[in-house]
């Protein structure tokens, strides 16, 4: 009977071989495919189950992973979620991730190349993989002041330190709470996400850098003024400012706010035109300067450029080869001129920083779990937007706007504020968007700010940049100056 037993032994060997091949098939050959199967929650557990690094504002973790007793081990928690949501974004097992949670994902989850040695150390020590912490340039007080001032309004605020490009505040309202999306149930997370997407007020869109860019209205006159100063004009140069400007080749006209005159005569100085935000003067000036100069000046402030701060910024746009009437419309920030609030803050920032435009950024330092600095952002010049003289002249002109012009609502006692209002028609029956861009203190600026309020906030058709947006800018500037004084 020994011969059949030997044969049987070969049969058992074959049975085991089959099992070994099958196991290799499941655990090796098909492992990737099975891992990507949407029904495989283990992949989610692994992705969401490790300690994800915190996002830090002013030394406080505003986003952190808290240990919990469920299969995911950690719950992503957002302190003051709606306040920081436009910056942090969300991290959800349902709709995925957005904001810095998305752009800094490799650092936060610890998989970035920069963390290779940290990972190796963890591997040998038998520790689980930990993510890096991401420290922001945002100042909590400035962010809070901007957010509170925007209460009940739709719009955005961006505040930049003009000397470095560090973003001190980035607010978009209405906002949402990322904590609700971090729930550990994909169906619940998806349900909340769908309701946020369906919301008519678009809470998920960061209005400061994306979504629909806005017509900048009269704040664009700063670009025209800069182009003029660079082309040999001075603040005292008299320019043509009729009550109503007829546009060549059409029957259309441009008039001033309320149909008024800009001065006692039809000729006023460039500084005066900016102070009273004279539409006809800038429309005529722009046609005289020609589109090429305006286009070049705008480009030096960042128009048409895509930025990663590291959030991706929608490039601001200019019309392509406009005709004369279109140039006139564009000069007052209408027609096809579009800008993000960040872009307008960059305009103020460049003027404030003697013409040097610093690259805006949100992340100051990234630290590994053992607190080693693995990334540190150094200030970087994006472009020389203006000559020092031109910047100085514009600075003085903008101080005039606040001291005794349309921006008087931004006055702060004891601080020289430079600013420019904007009230942009939306082309429909809806109330205009109101703008205010500013920086302060004018002689040694620590903050440049842009405020946009969609459809005039609660003032409706009575809204102007001076009435609606300037007080918000004032609150933000005050907070930034206090913060700078306290911080240094």
């Amino acid at each position: 009977m020994n011969e059949p037993i030997r044969r049987l032994s070969v049969v058992t060997l074959l049975l085991f071989l089959t099992l070994m091949v099958a196991a290799s098939w499941v655990q090796f050959a098909k492992a990737g495919e099975l891992g990507e199967d949407p029904r495989n929650v283990r992949t989610l557990y692994r992705q969401f189950g490790s300690f994800r690094g915190p996002i830090i504002v002013d030394g406080q973790a505003v986003v952190r992973s808290v240990p919990v007793d469920d299969p995911f081990n950690y719950q992503r928690t957002y302190t003051d979620g709606p306040l920081y949501a436009p910056v942090t974004g969300y991290y959800s097992i349902g709709p995925g991730r957005s904001g810095l949670e998305s752009t800094q994902n490799a650092l936060l989850d610890g998989s970035a190349d920069a963390l290779f040695w940290t990972r190796l150390g963890e591997l040998f020590a038998g520790q689980e993989q930990e993510g890096a912490s991401v420290e922001l340039t945002i100042k909590a007080d400035v962010q809070r002041a901007a957010y509170d001032a925007m209460a009940g309004k739709r719009g955005a605020v961006v505040a930049i330190d003009p000397r470095t490009g560090a973003i001190l505040a980035m607010v978009s309202t209405p906002s949402y709470d990322p904590t609700t999306l971090a729930v550990h149930s994909s169906s619940e997370a998806n349900r909340i996400y769908s309701s946020l997407v369906a919301d008519q007020t678009d809470p998920l869109i960061n209005r400061a850098i994306g979504g629909d860019t806005y017509p900048p209205g009269s704040t664009f006159k700063l670009i025209i003024a800069a182009a003029a100063l660079d082309s040999g004009y001075t603040p005292d140069t008299l320019i043509y400012a009729p009550q109503e400007l007829e546009l060549p080749g059409t029957t259309a006209t441009i008039s001033n706010y309320g149909g008024t005159r800009c001065g006692p005569t039809d000729n006023i100085s460039l500084a005066e035109a900016l102070r009273v935000s004279c539409n006809t003067a800038f429309a005529d000036l722009a046609m005289r300067l020609g589109w090429g100069v305006i286009e070049r000046t705008a480009a030096k402030f960042g128009w048409g450029q895509s930025l990663e701060i590291p959030l991706v910024v929608t490039p601001s746009r200019l019309p392509d080869s406009p005709n004369e009437p279109q140039i006139a419309q564009s000069a007052i920030g209408q027609f096809d001129v579009r800008a993000t609030p960040l872009q307008m803050a960059m305009v103020a920032s460049a003027i404030a920083n003697d013409g040097q435009l610093m690259k805006p950024y949100l992340v100051s330092t990234v630290r590994s779990p053992d607190l080693r600095v693995i990334e540190h952002t150094s200030p970087e010049t994006l472009s020389s937007s203006l000559s020092r003289d031109t910047a100085g002249a514009l600075n003085a002109m903008m101080q005039g706007v606040v001291a005794e012009g349309t921006g008087s609502n931004a006055r702060i006692s004891g601080v020289a504020v430079a600013g420019k209002t904007g009230t942009a028609e939306t082309g429909t029956d809806a109330a205009p968007h109101t703008w205010f861009v500013a920086f302060a203190p004018a002689d040694d600026p620590v903050v440049a700010v842009a405020v946009l309020v969609e459809n005039g906030g609660d003032l409706g058709n009575e809204a102007t940049g001076g009435r609606v947006s300037a007080p918000i800018a004032r609150a933000v500037i005050q907070a930034a100056i206090d913060s700078a004084a306290g911080g240094s």
Binding site: I5, F16, T18, L19, A22, A23, L34, R46
Partner: protein, 454 residues
């Protein structure tokens, strides 16, 4: 000048001691990893566990030294290592269930079953001096096996668990009598075949170049075939059916040396499986859940949920596993019993999975080697039957988990949670130890004689 000739007698008790130490180390280390990674950390309970494991291994070693001094030295350590890995994984799954708010004490119960199984096995080794005594109980064993196999069908005590009716409830405890029936049938088949092998080996008509058995000798195989079919249809368990029929055909082949019995057997089984699959919807549904497991409609109906979750678990383990206590094995229903191999595959990876299969393969090959070594036909058939039964059972279970064949309700010997399986399989090991002792005693005796003569 006197020459001293030394002939070493390699009975292997010293090798067994070394291997047992390694097996204990594996069992204790596995438990320690689980405690460290998924539990409250390493504490006094680990020391108590370690002492218990070492005490059991020592006791087993001493009993074998005294009562079966020539027994195969690899069997016991291999089985103890498997037992230890199973206990560690069941403990780990207890902890995983606790995380999900379900308090279970499977590991504690399993430890008790393992101790009972080992003690029972040692008693058998101690009181049964010769396996040939069992031949007297050939027909008693056959009757017991049949009762065990069909008991779950009895109204009142039969239980249906997870779709298969292979359990009975007795005195408030549930029991899988099929596990014991397996051993009873090995003894019965061996006793019956060793008596009738000459008749069954007689040549019958030649069809298509193959000499078939005589039609009048087809009686026994048809009876077993019918019983296997009944099990598949009435107990809804392809596994037990395949195991018993396969076991019979293999032993029939060993006894008669006729490959034609294997061909007849495979043909009959294939016909039976097709008939059952077509006529009975629940059998067909099982085939469907196997063939189209990843299909979304089949998965959403819940029929392939367990299988697919098990595959996900094994896939996430990859080559080296998540590490003990680091995976999510509790996502798979019955992770501690039916799917313990998937749990081990997830946390120990393909590497660990292969190592466990290799341990089983060693046990199977050692059983077959004992069958070759032992002189009497009955002993050969029992040892080969037990060895092949383990190989086939493992193939059916692990093949089910890795989707080679449809999923069944058989248990993974020594690893899966369950008292019946644990005790029955330890009894099978006791028989193998006894037979290997006899198989190797002859060789050892002649070596000793040579030493004395020198």
């Amino acid at each position: 000048m006197a020459t001293v000739l030394e002939v070493s007698v390699r009975v292997g008790r010293r090798s067994e001691a070394v291997l047992l130490a390694i097996a204990c180390a594996i069992a204790i280390a596995a438990r320690a990893f689980v405690d460290a990674n998924a539990g409250p950390g390493i504490d006094g309970s680990l020391a108590a566990y370690a002492m218990a494991v070492v005490a059991i291994a020592t006791a087993a070693h001493v009993v074998i030294r005294l009562k079966a001094p020539d027994a195969d030295p690899v069997l016991l350590p291999a089985i103890l290592a498997l037992n230890g890995l199973g206990l560690a994984m069941i403990h780990r799954i207890d902890l995983a269930y606790l995380d999900r708010g379900r308090e279970t004490h499977f590991a504690q119960a399993q430890m008790m079953w393992a101790v009972i199984g080992i003690v029972a096995a040692l008693i058998v080794v101690a009181v049964l001096p010769d396996h040939r005594l069992l031949r007297r109980y050939t027909y008693t064993a056959g009757a017991l096996g049949l009762i065990g196999l069909l008991l779950p069908l009895a109204p009142g005590i039969g239980l249906e668990v997870n779709g298969a009716r292979i359990w009975v409830s007795l005195f408030g405890r549930s029991l899988q009598p099929g596990e014991f029936a397996k051993i009873a049938f090995v003894i019965f088949f061996a006793g019956y075949l060793v008596s009738h092998r000459d008749t069954l080996a007689l040549a019958g008509p030649k069809v298509l170049g193959i000499r078939l058995p005589r039609p009048r000798d087809l009686g026994p195989i048809l009876v077993v075939w019918a019983a296997a079919l009944l099990v598949q249809v009435a107990e809804r368990d392809l596994g037990a059916s395949l195991l018993f029929f396969g076991l019979f055909v293999a032993m029939l082949y060993i006894a008669t040396q006729r490959i034609s019995w294997v061909i007849v057997g495979m043909g009959l089984f294939a016909v039976g499986a097709v008939i059952a699959g077509t006529l009975f919807s629940h059998v067909g549904a099982r085939y469907d859940a196997w063939l189209n497991a990843l299909d979304f409609t089949v998965y959403d109906s819940g029929r392939s949920y367990q299988l697919v979750q098990g595959l996900f678990g094994m896939a996430s383990g990859g080559l080296f596993g998540t590490g003990l206590g680091e995976g999510s094995p509790a996502l798979v229903p019955y992770a501690e019993s039916d799917f313990i191999m998937a749990s081990l595959g997830e946390e120990l990876g393909l590497t660990g999975f292969m190592a466990i299969l290799a341990l089983y393969l060693v046990v199977v090959q050692r059983a077959l080697r004992a069958a070759i070594g032992v002189r009497d036909g009955f002993g050969k058939l029992v040892a080969a039957g037990l060895g092949f039964a383990m190989a086939l059972q493992l193939f059916v279970v692990v093949g089910g988990v890795t989707r080679v064949i449809p999923l069944t309700g058989l248990t993974t010997p020594f690893l899966a949670y369950g008292g019946s399986s644990m005790i029955a399989n330890w009894l099978a090991i006791a028989l193998l130890l006894r037979i290997s002792d006899l198989a190797r005693a002859g060789a050892a005796d002649s070596a000793r004689a040579a030493q004395v003569a020198a």
